[in-house]
């Protein structure tokens, strides 16, 4: 396979990954890394590097659209970024210590956990209840624009959400993914933020989280331009299309399908990790 053919196929794969990742909120990285390592036999370090860069593109590209709509809770995002960036640096540091086989196994486990957790989500948080004193002081409470007007909501359990974000950051830095699923869970189930707010705010934070660890990857030579180019461009086009669809389409069935694909990929990653093929 020549560079030209390889680039074209990776571009198409990244485009689909970006579209699905953006629609389901699970991120494109979760498909790109298995695609590169399992199908194209790319070393996992290069795959993680390319995925991490693409994560920045996805997040920034889609966030540009979401932020304007006024759904993103920017203060909440900024505050939680303290947790995710510190975590991301710890994760990138860990990535250089762990063997590639172990990273592949961890990747598979995180994929399964993300896919399963995305289905056991609680009902969309109610808009009632008392705000916590910390969320008052940090002015994290906001409102969501709905057809019936501004709907106020309260952020709960700030410390629990902060710690969960720290873990999400470590995973992002270690595995080169946005770990959007974990971020959404931290906000949805722990902090009780409305689903639309947690999805867009998670997306808003992912770019900054990835930017914290990508410097370490670049310095170590994990980021290959020839590989990153089709991945980044493909994911960007896909994510842009996804951000156009998100506000109108119902994505439940798509999410089920995507989660099944992820489960298969996760099993493959774990098997190949134990077999030391990766």
């Amino acid at each position: 396979m020549t560079v030209l053919v390889f680039t074209a196929i990776v571009f198409v794969g990244a485009l689909v990954a970006g579209l699905l990742g953006s629609l389901t909120g699970l991120g494109g990285g979760v498909v790109i890394i298995p695609l590169l390592t399992l199908v194209f036999k790319v070393d996992i370090h290069y795959a993680i590097g390319a995925s991490l860069v693409s994560v920045i593109a996805t997040s920034s590209g889609a966030a540009a659209a979401y932020v304007k709509e006024g759904i993103t809770n920017i203060r909440l995002g900024m505050f939680l970024e303290v947790a995710t960036t510190v975590g991301a640096i710890v994760g990138a540091w860990l990535a250089t210590w762990l063997s590639t086989s172990l990273i592949a196994i961890l990747f598979g486990v995180v994929l399964i956990v993300s896919a399963v957790l995305s289905f056991v989500r609680l009902a969309d948080p109610v808009f009632t209840g008392k705000p916590g004193s910390l969320s008052e002081r940090l002015r994290l409470n906001s409102s969501l624009p709905t057809p019936e007007g501004e709907q106020p909501y309260f952020v709960k359990n700030v410390i629990g959400g902060f710690l969960m974000m720290n873990i999400a950051g470590i995973i992002s830095g270690l595995l080169g993914i946005g770990s959007g699923a974990l971020k959404v869970i931290a906000m949805d189930d722990v902090m009780r933020v409305p689903f639309k707010v947690s999805t867009t705010t998670s997306n808003f934070m992912i770019g900054v989280t990835a930017a914290a660890s990508v410097g370490i990857y670049l310095k170590r030579g994990y980021i290959d331009p020839g590989l990153s180019m089709p991945v980044v461009l493909g994911v960007l086009v896909g994510a842009f299309a996804g951000s156009r669809i998100l506000t109108t389409a119902r994505t439940t069935r798509l999410k089920t399908l995507f989660a099944l694909v992820i489960l298969v990929l996760a099993a493959e990653m774990i098997y190949n990790g134990f077999a030391h093929n990766i």
Binding site: Y46, V86, V208, Y222, M229
Partner: protein
């Protein structure tokens, strides 16, 4: 109310910043990609084993010099640097925004995030 208006302005500008950052980065990456494919499109990619990138793909100054010599891959890396700089620029901008709003708590929180990122580059 005045704060709400400023918040809306801030959101609009952050949105623009992200959009133009990503657009210019992808234009540079695409240009570098075309140069790279024209020069090396017929070769065979080698990604099976990890060797690590040469210095000109890792250090911004060397990247820039190689790019000026007309090489495609360093140009892609420069585009990726612009991409990485986009969320960082968003943070820098937000700090100014919060200072203008006299929201000192969030100016400090955002500065901490910036320091964590810059400290590692």
């Amino acid at each position: 109310m005045a704060r709400n208006i400023r918040d809306a302005d801030l959101k609009k500008i952050i949105g623009q910043l992200l959009r133009y950052g990503v657009l210019s980065a992808s234009a540079i990456v695409l240009t570098g990609g075309v140069v790279y494919l024209v020069r090396h499109g017929g070769q065979y990619p080698q990604y099976h084993s990890f060797r690590g990138e040469p210095d000109k793909m890792r250090q911004p100054v060397l990247m820039w010099e190689a790019m000026l010599r007309g090489e495609g891959r360093p140009l892609i890396q420069v585009g990726l640097l612009v991409l990485i700089a986009t969320p960082i620029a968003r943070i820098v901008f937000s700090i100014f925004g919060y200072l203008l709003e006299k929201d000192y708590l969030y100016a400090v929180i955002t500065s901490i995030v910036l320091l964590v990122i810059v400290w590692n580059f």
